[in-house]
Amino acid sequence: MTLVAGVDIGSTTAKCALIEDGKVVGRSLNPVGVELVKDAERALALALSDSGRERRDVRAVTGTGYGRFKVTFGQFTVTEIGCHAKGAHFLFPATRVVLDIGGQDTKAIKVDANGVVIDFAMNDKCAAGTGRFLDVCAGALGYDVSEIGPLSLGARRPVKVTNTCTVFAESEVSSYVARGKDPKDILAGLYGSIVSRSLSLLQRVGVEPEVTFTGGVSRNEGMVRTLRARLGLPVNVSPLSQFVGAIGAALYGLERLEAVPA
């Protein structure tokens, strides 16, 4: 009956998951601003109200994400790489490879049967192929990123998006718009470009089933379809896929509590 919290401070959103008895009992998602400590606190408070629990019921708070050191009220910090592995394993125990596409980075993580990281690879030099890339390009098409998921379905002739720079890709998209290309085809081209960058990372760790797709971009149906098609494998996507890092963090805290009794 131990309630634990994981708080995942990403580059665009803060997520919190509360876990009790192997179940996610509360969660929250809110955008981050410039005051990360407050954002982290708010994430926990919102998740608590979602679950109807009190702050004092929480036995451990674990921070993860690039802002993990801003979860100053927590007990532990773990990198999001470890957390995505653990969280994905929790949701899909047969997971061997996790693909996480977040706001500013993309990671491929290889995990063992216990959800422990064996190997990982991340985008390095720039933000090409990340959630932000999609965000910016959706903007260039005149959509919000939350709307574009189903839009590529039915694309017939996906365009080729070759620019690696997010900002230049935006102008490439604009030029396709100006040339009267079907937004379906442009989006399909964008998905293809992001998936091909993701595949390159997946190749580094080696692809084997099952593959679990996590992070904000996994909410996009078009991306999931494109990934499935290109991998030729089924891809797990949980309705909680944005919370995988937070779930993993909470589980790490639990494990730590069990290893070192209070």
Binding site: S11, V32, G33, V34, E35, L36, Y66, G67, K70, Q104, K125, C126, A127, T130, R132, F133, V136, G142, C165, T166, V167, F168, E170, S171, S174, S175, V177, A178
Partner: protein, 272 residues
């Protein structure tokens, strides 16, 4: 003799009317919104209205900017680098170096006394050195765009952003915020970072006074100050500089028209 320069850019479309290659009789601007031809026509109407002319009074139309080929009713098109160099020298004849910080790319040009481009260099690799970077920072820092510059000018210890990726630079900015760097210092850091990237381009083509800044950011005082501080020399920031490319196109149009009128060939033959 009225010539028109039309700068069909990604963000906005600008136009000028030039009389006898010497006097600007009208300037106009309209947002492009993805429809360059429509925006161009709107700007033409605005110009005609302002100068109290009929569109038919325009004897020669020269386009420039990203959509220079898209606009059908043109006599000639020139690249926006060629055009903005001519425009900058038209506005300030002493200018020998032009730096253009546009929304998606920055360019530096060394120019002759007639405004001919002698050497130029633009950022190609990554867009961290372009004006769009400022827009994104404004959004991220939740500061309205027009308040960026006034706020930045209050800076005492600007924090320069080192990341070469415009998107990753945001993370750096957010880290600075988390580390309690004062907002004016972060904002001025953004302008100085842009100035430093432009300075690399500028040095690459060679800097000779006078140096003029053109493009949208010329209206931002913080940008001008940041550039002056980086270059260590005064920067010419003409109020008409946002229209430099359109002006340059009109100037080139005028000289082309003069050449053609010396020949018996009818104008239509020069159409591209």
């Amino acid at each position: 003799m009225i010539t028109c320069g039309l700068d069909l850019g990604a963000g906005s479309t600008k136009g000028v009317l030039l009389e006898d290659g010497r006097r600007i009789v009208a300037t106009a601007l309209a947002p492009t919104r993805g429809h360059a031809v429509d925006a161009g026509r709107t700007v033409l109407e605005l110009l005609a209205e302002e100068a109290n002319l009929f569109p038919g009074d325009i004897e020669y139309l020269c386009t420039t900017g990203g959509a220079r080929y898209a606009f059908p009713d043109r006599h000639l098109q020139v690249s926006d680098i060629t055009a903005s160099a001519r425009g900058a020298v038209f506005l300030r004849p002493g200018v020998r170096h032009v730096v253009d910080i546009g929304s998606q790319s920055s360019r530096a040009m060394s120019v002759s006394e007639t405004g001919r481009v002698l050497r130029f260099k633009m950022n190609e690799k990554c867009a961290a050195g372009a004006g769009r970077f400022v827009d994104r920072c404004a959004k991220y820092l939740q500061v309205p765009l027009d308040e960026m510059a006034p706020k930045a000018l209050a800076s005492t210890k600007p924090k320069i952003i080192s990341s070469v990726c415009a998107v990753l630079a945001e993370t750096e900015i957010i880290n600075n915020v988390a580390e309690d760097v004062p907002l004016p210092d972060i904002l001025m850091g953004v302008f100085l970072s842009l100035a430093q990237r432009a300075y690399v381009l500028m040095r690459n083509v060679g800097i000779q006074p006078d140096v003029a800044l053109v493009g949208g950011l010329v209206r931002s005082e913080a940008m001008v100050r940041a550039l002056e501080r980086t270059v260590g020399a005064p920067i010419v920031a003409d109020p008409q500089a946002p229209h430099a490319a359109a002006i340059g196109a009109a100037v080139l149009g005028h000289s082309r028209l003069q050449k053609l009128s010396q020949r018996p060939t009818p104008l239509a033959a020069a159409e591209v």
